[in-house]
Symmetry: C2
Subunit: 144 residues, 2 copies
């Protein structure tokens, strides 16, 4: 299966060690450049306070199926972590949308490297049903 970037994400993070481990801890501002051929798809996005972005961890290589994640000292299954080293190198962040100018979105909360390929944008729609009875496994009580 092939995928193609629909844009590029500009952030202040030039080196792998710089980004914070999770967007919710980040108040860093960045810019999403959606390629002009897709600009029309951004219509009406101004009404949304948050967006979901799917991107490629383009600097990531290989993966381990068990790893010791941030904020833990025990090996955990890869799919219970947000590690950038994973099959398909797909990343997901929820960002605050600060504004739009043509094909450029100004966003807050970026946690990816500068130059990250953008694969998709979806509306963030909170689901109130999800606020009840959520369990978060080994992440419970960890700093997040």
């Amino acid at each position: 299966m092939k995928i193609e970037p629909i844009g590029i994400i500009h952030t202040p993070f030039k080196h792998k060690k710089e980004p914070p481990p999770q967007a919710s801890r980040s108040s860093t501002v960045g810019f999403i450049e959606v390629y002009q051929k897709y600009e029309e798809g951004l219509s009406d996005i101004d009404g949304f306070s948050h967006i979901i972005v799917i991107f490629r961890f383009h600097r990531s290589r290989g993966y381990h199926l068990k790893l010791i994640p941030h904020w833990d000292d025990t090996e955990r299954g890869l799919f219970t972590t947000r590690s950038s080293r994973r099959p398909n190198q797909l990343g997901l962040s929820i960002l605050k949308l600060l504004g739009r100018k043509n094909n450029i979105l100004k966003v807050k909360g970026v946690d990816m490297l500068d130059g990250t390929p953008l694969l998709d944008i979806k509306p963030y729609i909170p689901d109130k049903n999800l606020n009840r009875g959520v369990r978060i496994g080994w992440l419970k009580g960890k700093r997040r």
Copy 2:
């Protein structure tokens, strides 16, 4: 860029018109078969009540940058909708994890077609900061 399925999602939905338009409206049970070579990556997942799955809308072809979405009668930008017809055909659902047996996850809330290629699983971690001041644009007041 290439991506490869890491598994396959089994659901009761055999035809394009069957799935509900959004997982949060679905109480349908399905099974995620993670290919055995990735099974070790599921360690510790039992502790999580919900998971995020990223998948491919494998039966979707082409896209329009503006479309009239469900529950609306006005054209909206593609990236403010969850339409399956989009560049890269990437889908995202939050599913309730009912149980695991080896490489098979039993989940509730499936909204994708039977045989959908699975691309990634991530832990669902609610962000309390996101419950305040969220705006959802044209979706406000729509049945969701």
